[in-house]
């Protein structure tokens, strides 16, 4: 088995071996640390992906090699096949590793697996690449397959999009790591699996045989093993086992029978809210769960179940509404809706929201945009808008009041030295996502205009990367585009403030011209700042808002 230099991040292409913990001939246990590496992002220790004996070290301490280079070999006690494996642990812990490659005739990389798999796999010729659920961000532990663009038997080009996924941070398309033939799909549409779970197999060899028909049995076994390899908890319920679930709950023989047939794990069973006598999970409950699992992700549901049930019971207790089923259409929430729901409640439960409002005279900027937009489009290929100017004013104000550009970590304040400016983007029909402009502090109005156009466009076409939505420091939401004059936005956690942009309107206002008051028609826009009172008090919030107003109103006509 080959050990390669793992990919430790999006932009990390090489790594340096700092130290070998094992020498040739040493016995290596599964998950035992074998070497330490350093990349330009992180230093980390790499555990063994397989037990065996370290048979060869190919890269010395201090040497830097490209990601993917074989650095050592472990001789497995049982399997003689050479395999390329990226240590699973390292990839889930540290890297944003997208694709796990496991090129091997037998596809085995784990000694814990039962041996009957060997025979079941031997009729698959050529090299197989296993495609795993990619990790889409630091805290993203699972993903839902929304759509397969390819079916079993289809030829796939390298980098061709093979499936779409949805995680609790972002929806995206996943390209194929190699050219080949899709030989197996292990995770169906709308199913949710943990990061690292093998979702498909791609054959890159010559003698490709698509597994189908009489190989049905083998296929099933493989699925089963892969599941147990990646997630001990998702073992389907076994009948004839103790009828008490892991949580000590009683499950009826019928519920256990259904769980077994439908591959519902004990973990899942324990997460189902029972409506039967004494809160028992009834046939109806588990069938409802299975039905819902088909339309939405399992794990996501498990996670949100408790909270939303809580909310349900509270709200039903208050409202006690009785509906005629025929008058109400029950629509299951899609993933993105469930996530928005949870994020909103989480934010409301976390931050102490207070909102301040200030009116800004946008007449100067309005006139500037009207007179210069074509020219700037021509010269800079950028469409300048109110948002670009507001973003610019926000960046300048954040620099002046950096506490607004912070987050809270227990009893500490994490004041960010970088500005990643989030822009809330509505996605048709009912979604919402907040990608951020990295390094917004280094951009001028035109740079910001281009960046806003870019992320908004990529958000709407589902081309965002996990990087785009992580590590935001402050958010702007523009509900003014819908004509809303002012609103009280909810903070995008873990940030501590959010700026709401209202619609600009022509209004008669009193202004001072040459020392005397006069009534004029001006473009007036309301900005609201919702800030977390735990950290940002009224004075700071007010000064921050006032600074934005001053930057915008005192615009000198030069960008």
């Amino acid at each position: 088995m080959d050990i390669i230099m793992p990919k430790m991040g999006e932009s990390v292409n090489e790594g340096t071996i700092i130290k070998w913990h094992k020498k040739v001939g040493d016995v290596v246990k599964l998950d035992e640390i074998i070497f330490e590496i350093s990349t330009d992002k992180v230093d980390t220790e790499i555990p063994a992906a397989s037990a065996g004996v370290l048979s060869e070290i190919l890269v010395k301490e201090g040497d830097t090699v490209e990601v993917g280079t074989v650095v050592a070999r472990i001789k497995n006690s049982g399997a003689e096949n050479s395999e390329i494996v990226i240590s699973k642990k390292s990839s889930t812990e540290k890297s944003s590793q997208e694709i796990q490659k496991q090129i091997s005739p037998s596809g085995r990389n784990d000694n814990n697996l039962t041996s009957n798999s060997e025979s079941s796999k031997q009729n698959v010729q050529g090299n197989l690449i296993e495609i795993a659920m990619p990790k889409m961000g630091e805290s993203v532990m699972e993903g839902t397959i929304i759509k397969w663009n390819k079916k079993v038997g289809d030829a796939v080009k390298k980098d061709e999009m093979i499936f779409e996924i949805s995680t609790d941070k972002v929806d995206t398309e996943i390209p194929s790591p190699e050219a080949g033939t899709l030989v197996e799909i292990l995770v169906g549409e709308q199913e949710t699996v943990e990061v690292g779970t093998i979702v498909a197999k791609l054959s890159v060899g010559n003698q490709v045989k698509v597994q189908e028909g009489n190989n049905e049995e083998n296929k099933k076994e493989d699925v089963h093993e892969i599941k147990s390899m990646h997630d001990n908890f998702s073992k389907p319920v076994e009948l004839h086992s103790n009828e008490k679930g892991i949580g000590g709950g009683f499950f009826s023989p019928l519920v256990l029978s259904i769980a077994q047939k439908e591959n519902v794990s004990f973990d899942e069973l324990n997460s189902i809210k029972g409506t039967g006598l004494e809160g028992r999970v009834s046939k109806k409950d588990i069938l409802t769960y299975i039905e819902r699992r088909k339309t939405a992700g399992v794990q996501v549901q498990v996670k949100v179940q408790e909270k939303s049930e809580e909310r349900k019971s509270i709200s039903s207790a208050i409202t006690q509404q009785v509906y005629n089923a025929a008058d109400v259409e029950k629509i299951p929430m899609d993933n993105i809706r469930q996530r928005i729901m949870d994020h909103m409640v989480h934010s409301r439960d976390t931050s102490v929201h207070v909102t301040g409002l200030i009116e800004v005279d946008m007449t100067r900027i309005h006139n500037f945009i009207n007179s210069k937009k074509d020219e700037i489009m021509k010269s800079e290929n950028a469409k300048i808008t109110y948002m670009a100017f507001i973003a610019d004013a926000v960046v300048k104000s954040l620099k002046k009041y950096p506490l607004v550009n912070s987050s809270i970590d227990g009893n500490a304040i994490l004041q960010k030295k970088f500005i990643n400016l989030g822009i809330a983007v509505a996605i048709e029909p009912t979604g919402l996502i907040v990608p951020n402009i990295k390094g917004a502090g280094d951009k001028n109005v035109i740079g910001l205009a281009k960046a806003i156009a870019d992320i908004a466009n990529r958000a709407r076409t589902k081309k965002l990367t996990p990087d785009d939505i992580s590590n935001g420091t402050f958010t702007i939401t523009n509900y003014g585009v819908f004509g809303t004059i002012f609103g009280t936005p909810i903070i995008n956690q873990p940030e501590v403030a959010i700026l709401g942009v209202g619609a600009a309107q022509k209004k008669p206002v009193v202004i001072e011209v040459d020392g005397s008051d006069t009534i004029a028609i001006r473009n007036i826009m309301a900005l609201t700042l919702s800030h977390d009172h735990r950290l940002v008090d009224g004075m700071l919030g007010g000064m921050f808002l006032k600074n934005i107003k001053e930057v915008l109103e005192n615009f000198e006509g030069i960008i």
């Binding site: 023989p253 019928l254 409506t275 006598l277 046939k283 009785v322």
Partner: protein, 467 residues
Amino acid sequence: MPNKYQIAILGGGPGGYVAAIRAAQLGFKTVVIDKENLGGICLNWGCIPTKSLLKNVEIFDTIKNHGKEFGIYTKELSFNFTEIIQRSRGISDKITKNVELLIKKNKIDRIRGFGKLISQNEIEILDNDGKKTETMSADNIIIATGARPKTFPNIPVDRKSIITSTEAMNLAEQPKELIIIGAGAIGIEFAYFYSVLGTKVTLIEMLDHILPVEDAEVSQTLEKNFKKRGIEIYTKTMVEKAEVKGNKVSVTINQNGEKKTLSADKVLSAIGVTGNVEGFGLEELGVELFKNHIKVDKKTYQTNIPNIYAIGDVIGPPWLAHVASAEGIHCVEGIKGIKNPDVDYDNIPGCTYCQPQVASVGLTEAKAKELGYELKIGKFPFMASGKAFAVGEREGFVKLIFDAKYGELLGGHIIGSEATELIAEVSLARAMEATGHSIIKTVHAHPTLSESIMEAAANAYGEAIHI
């Protein structure tokens, strides 16, 4: 100062009095209002008095028709019809008095009178002459006024020659000939009762089989038994009219377009019931009705007026005493805020107390197939049961229907001796969501008739021992 209650219950039948006792247990100040003896139709004119009557004829049936088998001979076997009726009335009296005692013991106020709602919180009590005797107020009102036999214009009930079940259990003389219209549980029980006593009985049923809601195999088995007893059966037959002509009633029937006129001393109309919804203020309050019953939410039993509830026969089918009791308890617990699973209308046992008895719960084979289930069916005939042999009750069988996919026990059907007692195991198994093997692996006492349930389950999985 009018009396003020937390719960007032109109009607003291198996819905109302059970709800009252549960309410008292939960600490509610409760009143139950009924102008008749407590116990409703069930204890006074239904379940209990008819079961008393049936016991008399079962004994008579056994000695007369099976005495030789048991080595019992009688020189002259006879019965006294009046005493049979009297025993039944006596039992009814005793048991309703016991209910009055239960109400007292639970410190529930008992008002004998006719309750009329005058607002959503006020009830007026009227005496037999319709005179107001008192007024009371209640936070919650439960209507449990029950139902009565339905009458049809072409079958004009006069309670003398054309009668309902109420008269049929209290006749002064045994009719020589009796035509029973409707072969549901009531019709079937009276057919058995009177035919054993020697009355010439004719049964008329509009649908394909007698006991049309039961599994077809069960109905067919009973049909054969009844025909052997000399009961004449017309199925798929409409009654065009029934007319009283002197001491006789003539009944014109239409079987597949073929008309025929039958004649008998008495005609028993046993087709359908209708809710008691009139005369106590529902219309004035605007309580919503449907098809002569009160419309409720079957989770809370609330009517369209939130503090007015209704339970039992008055809210419509399945018109069974045990359903009314279950609804009453669930309704009161709901008012108290106790959360229990709703009454499971898919798991209500139905029983008919003729011999052989018929009992069932859940889906029939036909219904299960219609719903698209793939079935595993297990049957066990009492012919193969040692206990059935010993007690000389070899007729009938147990039939259990399982969903092949998940092993759910979809339905159980029993025809035979003690079927109505045996069915409880099947109901419990369904309520607990047992599978076939839960029953097979439960050790059943030997020798019992209940072993047949275990064997029927085993038969579905090819594991039965005695067949």
